[in-house]
Assembly symmetry: none
Homo-oligomer: 232 residues x 2
DNA sequence: AGCCCATCTTAATAAAACCTTAAGGTTTTA
DNA sequence: TAAAACCTTAAGGTTTTATTAAGATGGGCT
């Protein structure tokens, strides 16, 4: 399924901003302007991460954070205005995993969210690798650990090969990847007999599952004579 | 190999303070009390990071920041007084990487500087500079990675051969390239059969896509008896 | 083991996109 | 004015990619 993130901030503009940016990365957002509603959401939904403002009209962020910690292990990121610096230590020791002061760059927030998700999923898998294990951008989410893929919050069931190909394309998003390169990356084979046809067939299947087409590609584009490409 | 940091603040005491602390960490500091001098420094020196005050007597920090972003990727940290908070978002979206309000604790500044440098070098270290993969000059942009070509912000869709020819012409811009040379570079063939006609046809197509003409060439000029040339 | 199922590969064919050729026209040079 | 160099055009050939379906593989299950 998709990756669910809770966002709580009484400043609507900020909550909305966060929502836009994270949704753009393909995450599913549960957004609330107060602690009560958020608290209810924590119990009803299966969450992967929470972003909490410290200052809330009803319940404050710390309390909410503690409440989450009683039952869940997913990462919590706290938001705070600069002036509240004093409380930093308190917040962190109360179980928050990261801490962002306002104002923040949206992209930095996105980066931190991904970092936490990475860290969290890594926690549950014994693989001690440093490389990226989660790719999320423009509605696409690829999770190396669970081998799951989500497109616009809808799960795609991909075969291993399909997943690998999409992974390679996505981790090189914005640049053309040739069939040869794809073949090497996915099959690890240098001596590929003339049958990069295989790659093509898998691309075809991928496009099908993504409701994409070769003529009017929304995701996987063909660059004639060069290779395939996914836009940033 | 020292790490060069630009510091700009019209309040001399602050600039000096920053200098002391950062120098103490082993950084090399380029310190200025106005935007003009700083601007000049950006062009002449190889910088790793910049700390800019928002309020400067001549050029303001945001403008300077933008100017840096046009040509450089190193991190920029903005300094501002509390009262100027309103502009925060503006400043952040204009490309700054971090934001510190005055008054600040020097050690926090040092920490942030290090954080930015870490982030920056981390992003840049895995990909060491290779050969040119992007050519951009006078309205023309050729990107080898995306295989895209843009002319005056309008995308041209070129075939592989056309792209190659234009690439060769552009990477030799300012100098005449003969058909033979073009043929060798693009086709990699030494024994090119009697007619460079093929090259000519491709040039023709290129000119067409560039809305160029042989009679009044804006881009690809014919140097009679020698070859083709693109102006710098 | 033997069968089923999902997946992968191969192969054959179709459809694009692209490249080359050649023929005739135009401009430049001597 | 003729020869040489260049330009234009379009048809036919080639290469690359897409599609499809059938055969191969291999793991899981009875």
């Amino acid at each position: 399924m998709s990756i669910n993130i809770l966002v709580v901030d009484d400043e609507q503009s900020i909550a909305d901003l966060i929502e836009v940016y994270l949704r753009n990365e393909g995450f599913t957002i549960y957004k609330f302007y107060n602690g009560q509603d958020a608290s209810r959401c924590v119990e009803s939904e299966q969450l992967e991460l929470a972003i909490l403002d410290v200052m809330l009209p009803d319940i404050d962020g710390f309390t909410l954070c503690q409440k989450i910690r009683e039952k869940h292990k997913f990462p919590v990121i706290m938001l705070t205005a600069k002036e509240e610096e004093i409380d930093k230590i308190t917040g962190l020791t109360l179980g928050a995993d990261d801490y962002i002061t306002k104002p923040f760059r949206p992209l930095e927030l996105v980066a931190r969210v991904k970092a936490q998700l990475r860290r969290f999923t890594k926690y549950n898998s014994p693989e001690p690798k440093q490389e990226e294990r989660l790719i999320a951008f423009s509605g696409l989410v690829l999770d190396m650990d669970t081998h799951e893929c989500t497109l616009n919050e809808k799960k795609l069931s991909l075969t291993p090969t399909e997943f690998s190909i999409l992974w390679v394309l996505c981790s090189n998003r914005g640049r053309v990847v040739s069939s040869e390169e794809l073949f090497q990356e996915v099959w690890g084979d240098k001596y590929f007999t003339n049958s990069n046809n295989t790659v093509m067939v898998h691309i075809r299947h991928l496009r099908e599952k993504m409701h994409d087409s070769a003529e009017h590609p929304k995701y996987i584009k063909t660059i004639w004579g060069v290779g395939y490409k996914i836009e940033k």
